[in-house]
């Protein structure tokens, strides 16, 4: 969704730029022709179901995977070549907990500090600061492998930011934690972002995606939408109709047969129906269909949620089941 004006700006405005980034695994195209521009100091989200190419993209951006074609510049450095100078500037949090389960919280942080050559003088102060900030003081002597999912996630983030990286790459960081921990985690991300850190975070939670400054929706390796969440919600290209019906299942079956209807999703007693904007008089179409079938219902046009955006842009409506 970039335009010519953006790409003419200096590299300073963007932490990440990618052009036609593609990665194939045999016959499978995991990421296809991806263009990406991540502004500095912002939280940029990758939203998509499992297998949509989020992890593959992040791994290409930090130099773990070589792109099959296309190119990407991260913090001004090309990721196709040597990423040695890039490593000290990025923090990476893997999808799976990747610190050492048989080391304690403190030992893990000390190890990471030494690996990043954190100055010896300020090392212990930095670790103490992180322990306090990430609520790890009470478990400092505990083996990381014996901690809860939330604690492990806080430790992983603390380790990823220890060396004060310019860019944080977070691969589904909240997939294994409870909602409370997720909220606290996002509070931390905003703190980091306010301090100037650029954050690229992948998720399959709608509420998390909604918090990002900017968002790309990936579907089967293809970027299908890109923009601030509010903007995406305004420009779905769909009319959203919410229906309260006595027998929602029968109403859903009735509406799904209409060729004009993009998708019908049941939410409790309500149905959310997506109809393309070019369809004339969509509300009448829906209510007419239902009353003809003898199904009493109240219908109204509502504003799009991010989930509606997701359904609208992904090729297959039922992707949303896996994604939420």
């Amino acid at each position: 969704m970039h335009d010519g004006k953006q790409s003419e700006r200096g590299d300073d405005a963007y932490a990440i730029r990618a052009r036609g980034l593609t990665r194939r695994f045999g016959d499978l195209v995991a990421v296809s022709n991806l263009d990406l521009e991540v502004p500095r100091g912002r939280i940029y989200g990758f939203l998509g179901p499992n297998g949509s190419g989020k992890s593959t993209t992040i791994r290409m951006l930090c130099g773990l995977l070589t792109p099959s074609s296309g190119s990407a510049t991260v913090l001004g450095m090309d990721v196709g070549g040597s990423t040695k100078r890039l490593k000290p500037k990025i923090g990476y949090m893997t999808q799976r907990f990747s610190l050492y389960g048989d080391l304690t919280v403190r030992e893990n942080l000390e190890f990471i500090a030494d690996i990043y050559s954190y100055p010896r003088g300020g090392r212990n102060e930095r670790i103490a600061e992180l322990l306090a900030s990430y609520d790890l003081v009470d478990v400092v002597g505990q083996l990381a492998g014996t901690m809860s999912g939330g604690q492990r996630q806080r430790l992983a983030l603390a380790a990823a930011v220890l060396h004060r990286p310019e860019l944080l790459l977070l691969d589904e960081p909240t997939s294994a934690v409870d909602p409370r921990s997720r909220r606290d985690f996002w509070a931390k991300l905003f703190e980091l972002s306010d301090a100037g850190t650029t954050i690229l975070v992948s998720t399959h939670y709608m509420d998390e995606a909604e918090r990002c400054h900017r968002l790309a929706i990936l579907d089967r390796g293809v970027k299908v939408a890109d923009g601030p969440p509010a903007e995406l919600q305004e420009n779905t290209g769909m009319t959203i109709i919410e229906i309260r019906a006595e027998s929602p299942s029968r109403a859903q079956a009735e509406l799904a047969m209409l060729p004009e209807v993009k998708s019908v999703t049941q939410l409790g007693v309500r149905l959310r129906v997506l109809v393309p904007l070019e369809t004339a008089a969509p509300l009448e179409l829906v209510t007419g269909t239902l009353s003809a079938a003898g199904l009493p219902a109240e219908s109204s046009i509502v504003a799009a949620s991010l989930e509606d955006v997701f359904v609208a842009v992904t090729s297959d409506g039922d992707n949303v089941e896996r994604a939420s």
């Binding site: 791994r59 930090c62 773990l64 070589t66 990423t83 990476y92 990747s98 030494d114 050559s117």
Partner: protein
């Protein structure tokens, strides 16, 4: 300075993990002691007490004395008498005996005529038993009425150097050091990188500024200390239980072991970069361990092996190490006299380590 801090960080981490891994820790001590007891007591090429039966069809004074002499050699353990050579064959076939002694009716006559006096029926499937039976052939048989023993033809006299009591342990223990170090050093490092890959640690590590060399060397160095502790254990137990001497310099022995440990650790690391899983790493380790036991001269004399096997043996670090340990411990050789073997070990280390560092990919594809 930065790279030294990183190297030390990797080493410290490795030691901490090792300290918490009780089973591995127990193996460091358990493998050497268990193996030395097992091999030290079980492997005995000085064969005695082979089960045997005698069919004495002569049953004369001379034949009974002959059987008694056979018994006194302690080479044969003679059980129930048999009636006929056919019965001896049956006993052989059923695995009841390894050697059958057949003394024919005309035994006395044959002794006088200098014809073959008796027959040894030997289970020759095992060449060792055949070799032992051949020793018996040299045993003199004579009537005690003969005043002068028949002159025995002696062209060569054997003077056994270095191990006059012919104790197998003296030859086995120096080689066993090599086998044990090969097993433990290679196994520990072969799983080292693979384990981190399996647990997901590697994905994080290769995204940090730590270099391949820092990572590899840092992972390996703690094990050098462990290898040297194992060496002390083996030579200690060897001395205590089997009275295996160290005639040469202990320092020379340690220097040789250092080179050998380094070679195995480097080889283990190389395996680690090839194998995808810990299970594969172990399989490859055992694939190398087996020829290390069989083709290194540890059990069978190196020179006696077919030429192809000798070439294969030369490629194994343990072959060179066993030459070093046997030379230093038994023949009082100095390291300088055996320097060729030492250079080969060092060369081996450099090649394997370079291979490992080069093969180790900082990418996941």
């Amino acid at each position: 300075m930065k790279s030294l801090i990183r190297l030390l960080a990797v080493m410290r981490k490795e030691l901490r993990q090792l300290g918490r891994d009780r089973i591995t820790f127990a193996m460091i001590v358990g493998i050497p002691i268990g193996q030395i007891l097992l091999f030290g007591y079980a492997i005995n090429t000085d064969v005695r007490n082979l089960s045997a039966a005698v069919a004495d069809q002569a049953n004369t004074h001379l034949s009974r004395e002959f059987v008694s002499n056979l018994r006194h050699t302690q080479v044969l353990k003679i059980g129930q008498p048999a009636e006929s050579p056919e019965e001896l064959e049956a006993l052989l076939r059923r695995g009841k005996i390894s050697v059958g002694v057949h003394i024919p009716h005309d035994f006395d006559r044959r002794v006088l005529d200098s014809r073959p006096d008796a027959h040894l029926l030997v289970d020759g499937a095992d060449p060792t038993i055949l070799g032992v039976a051949n020793q018996l052939v040299a045993m003199p048989i004579a009537f005690d009425t003969w005043t002068v023993a028949q002159p025995t033809q002696r062209g060569l006299e054997v003077r056994p150097y270095y191990n006059p009591e012919r104790r197998t342990a003296v030859n086995i223990v120096p080689g066993l050091i090599g086998v044990i170090l090969t097993l433990t050093m290679m196994l520990f490092t072969a799983v080292a990188i693979v384990r981190e890959r399996e647990r997901g640690n590697l994905e994080l590590l290769i995204n940090t500024p730590v270099s391949n060399t820092q990572l590899m060397v840092g992972k390996v160095v703690p094990y050098i200390g462990i290898g040297l502790i194992q060496l002390a254990l083996i030579i200690g137990v060897g001395k205590l239980l089997f009275n295996v001497p160290i005639r040469g310099s202990v320092l020379d022995l340690y220097l040789a072991a250092l080179a050998f440990i380094a070679a195995n650790l480097a080889l283990g690391l190389f395996i680690s970069t090839v194998a995808k899983t810990q299970f594969q790493a172990m399989q490859v380790t055992f694939f190398i361990l087996l020829p290390s036991i069989l083709l290194s001269g540890f059990i069978f004399p190196f020179a006696g092996m077919p030429i192809v096997a000798q070439y294969l043996g030369e490629v194994l670090p343990i072959t060179h190490f066993i030459r070093l340990t046997r030379g230093i411990m038994l023949r009082e050789a100095s390291l300088a006299e055996l320097s060729n073997e030492l250079w080969i070990l060092l060369g081996f280390t450099i090649v394997a380590m370079t291979g490992a560092v080069m093969r180790f990919s900082r990418r996941l594809d």
